[in-house]
Amino acid sequence: MNWSWTVFFETIPLISKGLWITVGLTLACYLFAAIFGFFWVFMSRIPSKIVRSIFGWIAEFIRSTPPLVQLFFIFYAWPVIPVVGVSLNPFVAAILGLGIHFSTYMSEVYRSGIESVDKGQWEASTALNLSTRQKWTKIILPQAIPPTIPMLGNYLIIMFKEVPLASTIGVVAMLHIANDYGSQYYKFVEPLTVVALFFLLLSYPSAILISKLEKKYNRKFDKKAMTS
């Protein structure tokens, strides 16, 4: 093997174009997962036991099958299903596939946050005659979400590292560009090293940022959460 610095430096600008696609796709998937996560929480609190367990099983199913299989299903299998089949562009398929997959994890994080809120908070909100909506938006979620921010942040990093899966259905991001370059010139080591460096460059500082956030929130909540 012969390492070529020329190739290395030549591929940096090429691959950095894909960097923005990777970052954009990560954020889009994450946003989708963060919002859709509440859907599972909502479904798990519906009074009907049958509805609850059906959605519980669906979420469990999604969580325990590989995201790659789900991506392939949405992109290749769904369009050929009669009546409901829709053919999607790769970017949308990736947002749906990864977004739904991660939403099932996000919902678990939300749930742990919601369950950590003292039962007395619900009772006091009832005693003050707040509506169900007001209880959630003013009392429960503002206490349930902040302590989960570190966990939510970790999922952002994990998501960032899973996004290259989208190259398998043709999203032209970093990995895809590197791979194309490799097959064209038969030079794989340099472009793939650049890809790895870009990932490191983004996820390592994010990890540090998240652990800082974690410390900050622990301090804040220690102070405020003492028996109130």
Binding site: G120, A124, A225, S228
Partner: protein, 258 residues
């Protein structure tokens, strides 16, 4: 005598197989102060929690201001009350909890302002003024921008009272409000309740273990034992000259100073 503000009619409550309340009949007059006493597990707290709509009775009827709390009429039939029915009656009831249940993510001023602004749609400016007034009344006028965690137990409980009073309920429920406090902080909380009782207009139901206090402020004391009302009457009769053996036995565990 006026029409009672609250009426319990043969109210039962079970948790699983355990029947906690076995038929409660109790009328509360407007402005009446009633102390509920009895051994733990006798169902005192459950009685007021059902009135606050935190527990649903298994059987029986609770009327508030002449309206059936837990059932509503729909197409000529009585059905289980829905959220909006409960919401329409619940405004007449307020509650102070044993463990305060202040909202930890809000300052004590925000704790007081929240419900009047959200539920009653009152103007923020006016609510703020009355909240400050209310907090001054409970002796915390200089602490309005602190968070609950920065207060002592007694102070928290006084905030909780101010918060409940902001909704101007007709009936206020006190659920063992001094039980979670250090002994030296009990006095300041009882003092606030005593002042409220003197003001007079609001009916009050107090679940309490403070017998002296009950003797002092209650118009009537109700002794609950094993899910039924065993004895009730004037505080002197109940606390000083108890008739039933169970009540005598229960009171022997407290020293009542006349």
């Amino acid at each position: 005598m006026d029409e009672p503000i609250v009426k319990y009619k043969d109210v039962h409550k079970s948790f699983g197989d355990i029947e906690v309340l076995k038929g409660i009949d109790l009328d509360i007059q407007p402005a009446e102060k009633v102390a509920l006493i009895g051994p733990s597990g006798s169902g005192k707290t459950t009685i007021i929690r059902m009135l606050m709509t935190l527990e649903e009775p298994t059987m029986g009827v609770i009327d508030v201001g002449g309206r059936n709390l837990w059932q509503m009429e729909k197409k000529g039939e009585w059905v289980r009350a829905d959220d909006s029915h409960l919401h329409s009656i619940r405004g007449d009831i307020g509650m102070v909890f044993q463990h305060f249940n202040l909202f930890p993510h809000m300052t004590i001023l925000e704790n007081c302002m929240l419900a009047p602004v959200l539920v009653k749609n009152e103007s923020k400016k006016e609510v703020k003024a009355t909240s400050v007034e209310m907090l001054e009344k409970v002796g915390l006028g200089d602490k309005i921008d602190l968070y609950p965690a920065q207060l002592s137990g007694g102070q928290k409980q006084r905030v909780a009272m101010a918060r409940a009073l902001m909704m101007r309920p007709k009936v206020m429920l006190f659920d063992e409000v001094t039980s979670a406090l250090d002994p030296e902080l009990v006095g300041e909380v009882l003092e606030v309740i005593r002042d409220l009782a003197k003001e007079g207009e609001m009916a009050m139901i107090l679940v309490t273990h403070e017998m002296d206090f009950a003797l002092d402020i209650a118009d009537r004391v109700v002794f609950l034992n094993d899910g039924v009302i065993e004895e009730e009457g004037h505080p002197e009769d109940i606390l000083v000259n108890p008739k039933s053996e169970r009540l005598q036995d229960f009171l022997s565990r407290f020293t009542v100073n006349r």
